[in-house]
Amino acid sequence: MENQSLKLSVSEFIAITNQTLEYAYPSVDIEGEVASFKVNQGKFVFFDIKDAESSIGCFMMVFALRIPIEDGMKVVIRAVPKLTKWGKFSLTVQSVRPSGEGSLKKSFELLKAKLDKEGLFAPERKRPLPLMPRRVAIISSTGAAGYADFCKILDDRWGGLEVETAHVQVQGEVAPDQMIRALQYFNEQESLPEVIVMIRGGGSADDLACFNDELLVRAVAASRVPVLTGIGHEVDESLVDLAADVAASTPSNAAQLLVPERADIRRRAKQSLRHILSATEASIVATKLQNHQVLERALLRVSDRHARHEQQLSSTVALLQAYDPKGALMRGYAIVRGDMTKGATIDIETKQLVVTAEVQHVRQK
């Protein structure tokens, strides 16, 4: 009997044990509290996951850790059980997500502080959205109510848009990677869209947790194309919102921020016309007033000149009258006509008489 028992080397035993474990647990989700968390050489993550009675060692690569964790945080890990070559049992962790409201909040705050320190949320990084975009990319789940709301408001408000939608999951563990791929897809297009809109309707904190994924937040911040988010309800704030160029409060609000409203454009066009009309009318009134003033000035000048001429005329008339010989006769003077030599006959004209006389004597004065 002894000869029939399986004889294995230590390495073979460990390999078979691992195969058996892998068969039994291709992967397992375990909820517990993090303890003794540490990162070695910036690459390897070690921690224990424990509950009130038990504890298991965990190992994972740092790139697989998508959320910051610390001792005391309640998490759900997805892991593969493994017996190491030193005979130590541990869990090789594939993903970690916070569990419970407290851990979600803690994880959110830790990552927010980290990314904020790197400047990912800085206001100076924000780019304005185009006023009237023509090419728009959407990242959303086409079956979600938030997407339908967004499209409806978009159609009600505006037209002429060429919209391409990347259908992705917007909830759960796979959602961040799908959204990252969609962001990369739109950013790699030869002809870039003018804006990328990320849409997701309301949900629980756990539903929206994928929008706090570190790699997704970094992808949003790194996008060549401005990103507009419309995620959850007004009270919800995700790290993706903080990294986006513009964050709307809801999917409907995102549509409102993305495009103008037809009625607004009509109103603006009418206002422009009214403005032009009033400017023209004001100009006509001003021109009429100016004409009137010019005419008045011209009339005044003509009138002045006329008065001056009249005055000149009357002075000339007065002068002429002064030179009139009859005026002298009227004043008692006489006009003498004829040759002023002794013996000659002369005529003397007074106001009333003409006297003919002979010159008797002539002398120099």
């Binding site: 060429e162 919209v163 391409e164 939608t165 999951q169 799908q178 791929r181 454009i265 422009s272 023209t280």
Partner: protein, 69 residues
């Protein structure tokens, strides 16, 4: 005319309208030209209004699967 061109036209026409408003406020303004310019603005506003009534969005859902690389 396609919707895309319509959207372009509306943006362009609004720009033209704004340029006309600017002309009315500028030193280039003359009464002689104002009536023609006003008629031009009125025509632009009407075209914008007409185009806004008809143009539609074109939404396409990509066939690409984003669930894997």
């Amino acid at each position: 005319m396609s919707d895309k061109n319509n959207a372009t036209s509306i943006a362009d026409r609004l720009t033209q309208l704004n340029q006309l408003v600017a002309w009315f406020e500028s030193d280039d303004f003359t009464i002689e030209e104002a009536l023609d310019k006003f008629a031009e603005a009125e025509k632009l506003a009407k075209t914008i209004d007409d185009e806004l009534s008809v143009f539609k969005n074109k939404i396409t859902v990509l066939k690409k699967d984003f669930s894997s690389e």
